[in-house]
Structures are given as C-alpha cells and as structure tokens.
Amino acid sequence: MSFAITAYNTIFKRNSVYVGSVFAAAFAFGIGFDSGVTAFWDSWNRGRQWKDIRHKYVQDEE
C-alpha cells in the first residue's frame, strides 16, 4: 500500500518524470532483452558455434 503511494509520488505524479522513466526503462529493457536472447541462443546452440569449437582447430602460438 505504501509502495503504491511512494511509486505514485515519485514517478507518476509529474508527467516529465513519468515519460523520462518510461524512456529509461525502455533503454534498460532493450539491453536486458538483447542479452537475455543472446544467452538463450548460446545455450540452445551450445557446442555448435565457432567460438565453442575454435580450440579444436586453432592453436594460439604461445
């Protein structure tokens, strides 16, 4: 209950703050969505990508 009042007073009350927080959340959401989808892709295709099998074919000269 108090959380709802706090959220209203800090974010929703002023439209400028509201719109700004919407854009900030969109930015954060885009980054999070991208990294999440990439992590899912890597785990789904584990062992099939070049970065997983590179060590079998390329020996870094040390």
Binding site: F3, F12, V22
Partner: protein
C-alpha cells in the same frame, strides 16, 4: 314510425355519431353558440357569465361550416387562468435526484493501489512501444551499413619487407591502384627541400608521407583519372601519359593539366610485423 325513430335518434345520440359520405363528421344539432346559464348553480365557481377559462368568441373558436367543424383563431387569446390545483393524480412523483443504488459494497476500500496499477500498465505499454520503435529504427539503419564482405575488402595489408629501396609497388585497393614507393635518402632530401609553397597544390612532404621512406598514394591522375607511370617525368616522380601531367617524388602536381596532388589514402604502419595497412 320511421320519422319517430329519426327524431328519437337525433335526441338521444351524441351529435357527432354520424359521418357524411365525404368522411366529415356530421353534427346536425350542435349549438356552438350556447352560453352558460345565467344563474349560479350551486357548486362555487362564482357568478355566471362568460367563462373565465375560455377565450371569448371574438378571438376565434369553432364554427360550423358545410364541410364540417371549422376552427380559427383571430387573435392571441390570453391563456386561461386556472387557479385550481389538481391535488389528486396518478402520475409518478418527480424527485430532485434519481435514486442511486448503494455501490459502497463494490467500491475499493483504498484506491491508491488501483491508481498505481493503472499508471504502471500505461507506462509498461509505453516502454514496450518505445523499445519497438527504437529497434525498428536501428535495424532499418543497420540495413544501410556496409556488409561484412565489403568491410573485409576495405582494408589491404602489404608486407613492406619485400619492397627494396628505390622500387615502386602497385597494389589494388577498393578497385583502384595504390602506389607504394620505398624512397631512397636522396629522394627524401629532394622531396623535402623543394619549395612547396610555390606549387599548384601547396602541400609539404611531411604531411604526405607518415614515414619519410614510404610514400603511399592513390595511383589515379587528378586530371582525368588515368594511371600515371612511375619513375618518369621531368621531376623523377610520376608522369601521366594521357595529357602529360608531371608529379614529383612526393606525388605533387608540378606540370601539366593536373590540378591537385595525388591523393594519399588513410594508411597505418604495423611496425611489429613490418606491414602497411591501407584503409
């Protein structure tokens, strides 16, 4: 007998019971000019005479005509003043405000949560729309970017250790020839000592060669785009056979129709591996 029946009918029946063949109701014995009786008749509406709630006859009224009843108003009659209140009636009572049911059982006891949730849902919609718009725009812009094969061809590596001193090498870079000249010390001195401020396109040799012994230029004549010939011309540099432009050992236009010096592409030296990267 028949005449008696007609008389009886005319007395007993209402005057408008019959209709003429034209459809007009016939009122044969209706006296439209009848007046109220002169005397009081004992139920308290004052003296007799013309009725106060009926417009007078000169203001108009109903008259009988051969085509039926006829009504006409000649003037604006005063409205009949009726002071008698009708206290008995059967219509519904008109109230000041309609009766509203009691919704207090259905109302939220505290509206703060609902308000915050509503704003939150609206804001979430905004977040999703902004993400969609941003990714649409950025994906569309990425379609204009160079593809990977183009980027891979955009750079060229040259092994400088294979070029002896005083030799030219011509390589292809982005479809155009590039001259690489390993200059000798005397050529460097010649290029640096020239009075470049009097040239057609004044440019010092220090600005053209990052390392004095390596000169890298696009091999396209600035006049009309021929490929100049190396180690030729009046100044020991390049000579364009098409229209006779002469370039010196730093690639600067010295003679002929060429308006500008030979162009120097963006290049970098990789000292560790002795390589030159153009692009």
């Amino acid at each position: 007998m028949a005449s008696f029946q007609a008389v009886k009918k005319s007395i007993n029946l209402a005057p408008t019971v019959r209709a003429l063949p034209s459809g007009v109701p016939a009122a044969p014995l209706l006296n439209l000019a009848v007046r109220a009786p002169a005397e009081q008749h004992g139920h308290g509406h004052g003296s007799s005479g013309p009725r106060a709630d009926v417009p007078p006859s000169w203001a108009g009224g109903v008259s009988k005509s051969p085509f039926g009843l006829f009504t006409k108003t000649y003037t604006t009659a005063p409205s009949p003043r009726v002071f008698q209140q009708r206290l008995l009636h059967t219509s519904a009572v008109v109230k000041d405000a309609p009766e509203v049911p009691d919704f207090s059982h259905y109302r939220a006891p505290n509206t703060d949560n609902n308000r915050a949730l509503s704003y939150f849902m609206v804001g979430t919609m905004g977040v999703l729309s902004a993400s969609v718009a941003k990714s649409s725009v950025s994906e569309f812009l990425q379609t204009m970017a160079a593809s990977a094969d183009v980027l891979a061809l955009a750079k060229v590596e040259v092994d400088l250790t294979t070029i002896p001193e005083g030799k030219n090498v011509i390589i292809k870079w982005r479809g155009k020839p590039v001259f690489i000249r390993h200059r000798t010390q005397s050529e460097i001195d010649e290029a640096r000592s020239a009075n470049w401020k009097t040239f057609r396109d004044p440019e010092p040799d220090e600005a053209r060669a990052k390392k004095p012994e390596w000169l890298v230029m696009l091999g396209v004549c600035t006049h009309l785009g021929c490929v100049p010939i190396g180690e030729a011309g009046d100044y020991g540099g390049w000579f364009c056979p098409c229209h006779g432009s002469h370039y010196d050992i730093s690639g600067r236009a010295r003679k002929g129709p060429a308006p500008l010096n030979l162009e120097v592409p963006a290049h970098d030296f990789n000292d560790a591996e002795g390589k030159l990267v153009i692009g």
